[in-house]
Amino acid sequence: MQRFLQSLPYLLFLSLILIFSNINAQDRLYNTMAVLVFEGNGIGQSESDAITDQFTIELKNTQSVLAIVSKEIVKEILDERQLSDKICTNESCAMEIGEILGVDHVVIGSVTKSENWFSMEVEIISVETGVVDSRKSFYMGDPNGLIVEIGLLAWNLMNKVSPHSLLEEKAKKEREAQLLAEQRAAEAAREARRRLRKAKLGAMLRSTVLPGWGQFNSGRKGWGWFWLGSELAIGGAAYMTYTEYDKAYNEFEEIYPNYNAATDHEEIAALKAQAIKVLDEEMKSNEQLLMLAYAGGAFWVANMVHAYVSGQILEQSSAEKSGFVLVYDPQLKSPQLRFYIALD
């Protein structure tokens, strides 16, 4: 107990330091400040201006700056110095422009858009020392919530608790973004299913025209060769069988009239035996042809079904994005064969 009483003054002192430092951090008041147009990456100048304006408005709402030099005045002064087109991205530049504008602090920042994602970074730079006084950044997805995020960023930059309305708005936007993401995911899934169905139908159609073509197109070369080879083998066998059939048919055509015209019993018997033999060969060949036709048809249909079932979307690889193309050169006024290769 005595030890506790001895250390009590220290504890009180430490507590006071913590409380005051927190108050100091939250309630810091800047005298003069200029917000320079943010550097835009992947967005236009007008969008960059609009984001800077929105940030400035929210910065005023924080009531942490006594005077913010308006964008118009900044532009006017920089125009006089022919610096209006200059985008500040570092401390030295911020110091230079801050001195010109006659402010204590300068806010510089950058906005980057990548597909549907935005990232933003802002920092307060002391004109006098060039020290970054505060730096905040955020990364979020949907542009729908960008305004709210810019507002929150302004409050965070000033180390102030964001207003409830903004936080509620953010939550709302997040819910909307979540909903939108789910909708997009569902749409993407539908689109993927549609593309897959299209790819399957395309594969089946190709394999209907030429066995194995659909499989080749789906990247299943082994299967492609199998179906094509099977049909070629069946076709080859059918051709050979047809040749045998044709030979037997023609032989019968020669023998039969002789049989009908013959008047000698022995000759008749011999011709009849020959005719029956070739007729038998003709029938056998025909049966084989029939079997091969059914087999060919069955394989063809199986190949079509397989093409549909195994059909998939094949992304072209870089190696496949090359080839030769015949183009017309308007300068030379002549057609040219050109080789192209994808660099992605």
Binding site: Y249, Y256, Y259, T263, D264, K272, E282, A293
Partner: protein, 165 residues
């Protein structure tokens, strides 16, 4: 049904012994060769009367019955079976009203000889009178005799069909 064109394989040569057997004709027999013809109304059809596997025949009297309203006999010529050193006696009689053609052939004289085997006795030229099928046949009244005038039993009498279009 996918299939190539196939021959039917109908073996019906009138002189084919197997085919003749299937029709109930056994040697010795008299048949027509050919036994069917498809012709136009303007055509003449030549049909030979064949003796199938005969033995020791010296004389033949063959009656051919035909549909007189559908066919007419243009001419009858002697066949090669009775050819030899001795010229045979060959006569025909055509009853065009009743459609009966009688062919008589024999060797004359004391040195008359006999024939055997298979061969044509006569060649008949028919002329269609109207369109459609018409049948002609060798009558069972036909007679074969040996040189001693003994009757030879015939086991088959052929018939023929003409399709005039």
């Amino acid at each position: 049904m996918i299939s190539c064109e196939l021959h039917e394989g109908i073996f019906d040569n009138p002189l084919d012994l197997e085919a003749a057997e299937a029709k109930g004709i056994y040697p010795p027999a008299l048949v027509f060769f050919p036994n069917n013809a498809v012709v136009t109304i303007q055509d003449t059809v030549e049909v030979e009367v064949y003796a199938m596997k005969i033995e020791n025949v010296g004389m033949a009297q063959i009656e051919v019955h035909y549909e007189a309203n559908k066919l007419s006999v243009e001419s009858v010529i002697q066949g090669s079976l009775f050819q030899g050193d001795n010229q045979p006696f060959f006569i025909t009689e055509n009853d065009s009203n009743n459609g009966i053609l009688t062919i008589f052939i024999t060797y004359l004289g004391p040195n008359g000889k006999a024939i055997e085997g298979t061969g044509d006795i006569a060649l008949i030229r028919f002329k269609p009178r109207s369109m459609g099928f018409t049948e002609f046949r060798i009558s069972q009244e036909s007679i074969l005799l040996d040189p001693d005038a003994n009757a030879i039993t015939l086991n088959g009498y052929g018939k023929g069909i003409i399709d005039a279009r």
